[in-house]
Symmetry: C2
């Protein structure tokens, strides 16, 4: 981590990273306000307040921190005798989680364990980068579907009257889209890519060596 600065475009890079973090944090805060203020707060007792942990954990985890948090909604469904996995939101969300796990295991096998040759690593790297971006977009899409579902289950009669909860949740959706666009732009620009450090150079796990097909440690 001795030279973490991008090669060029440093000024716009800093501003875009800053903006993405502000928008991402605002999304987390807005989810917290929606669930905490409008939907009755949080609990872990099978009540509707346990469901409220689900949107917060997913936005905080899968979108903002890329973690996990699926248990709350299944536990709430079990207590309230609501079937699982029937909605498009649940299908997209589960596909995102499963693909996220596949991506994690594949990354571990190709880049951490010494099973893959330098050639295989180089061939897999762009697919791994692409799949990571697809996962981010799918996570955000799943959030938007969850927002729409929650609003129609909770406030269908008043949603069309522009009540504050509906406007807040819609705004959250737009913020999540902005977060995804900013992150996608930052990830896909060549000029924002961090140059490899000496440690990565020796292990030949950095982007430049892999994409150029060479490896200092291969015969």
């Amino acid at each position: 981590m001795e030279d973490p600065a991008p090669r060029s475009g440093s000024s716009s890079f800093v501003w875009l990273v800053g903006a993405s973090q502000v928008v991402g944090l605002a999304s987390v805060v807005l989810t917290g306000v929606w669930m905490g203020h409008y939907r009755g707060g949080f609990a872990w007792d099978g009540s509707a307040q346990e469901f409220n942990l689900h949107p917060l954990c997913m936005v905080l985890g899968l979108v903002f921190l890329q973690g996990d948090g699926f248990v709350a909604v299944f536990d709430f469904h079990r207590a309230a005798k609501i079937p699982n996995m029937y909605s498009l939101h649940s299908w997209c969300g589960m596909a995102t989680l499963i693909l996220f796990c596949v991506q994690w295991v594949m990354g571990l096998m190709f880049f951490l364990f010494p099973v893959a040759s330098s050639w295989l690593r180089a061939a897999y790297l762009p697919v791994h980068v692409f799949c990571g971006l697809v996962l981010l977009v799918m996570a955000i899409g799943s959030c938007l579907l969850g927002i729409t579902e929650k609003l129609l289950f909770s406030i269908m009669p008043t949603y069309s009257a522009f009540v504050s909860e509906g406007v807040l949740a819609n705004t959250l959706g737009i913020l999540l889209i902005c977060f995804g666009v900013l992150l996608s732009f930052l990830i896909t620009r060549e000029e924002y890519r961090r140059p490899p450090n000496p440690e990565e150079e020796a292990l030949s796990v950095h982007f430049k060596t892999l994409t150029e097909g060479g490896s200092p440690s291969s015969p």
Copy 2:
């Protein structure tokens, strides 16, 4: 159009393009079956059958053909006295349409009219390509939100019992995601990019000249 073949990876390119078209067409057919068979067919008289044109036109137009088709839903809302633009689906859909128009006008100004310098064209091109991909993803995201809205407005009591309409519409959503992932992969891979033809070379509007900053027609 004398040399439309990509530089390399022709075999996988052909298969991926074929797969994307099959999945895209299947999405259009599934939307047609959903609206035509389950939702009562099509009409242009302010009835619910006029609304049914909206999903079909949007999937066919904004996703599969990148056209337009917003009139049917506003006309249906007016006749049925339903407020416009209150839902997250409408916000995302309208944002997509507005940004699509902005993208179209910007493209016209930068690449067709001779107002932009070669340097400006080169600077704008990657942004234009990125925004095109964002628009495709936003169009698909808006479709998924529309699917969820339509299902909850129409079959909320039976959706959780895995009725066939719900499963068909969910499958449509997953197909649209697959279509988006396939197209995104095809668009972002360097090896699938078409080499410039002589006409584009002379006009310096092709990707290679623009990204390398040179132009045979600039002083």
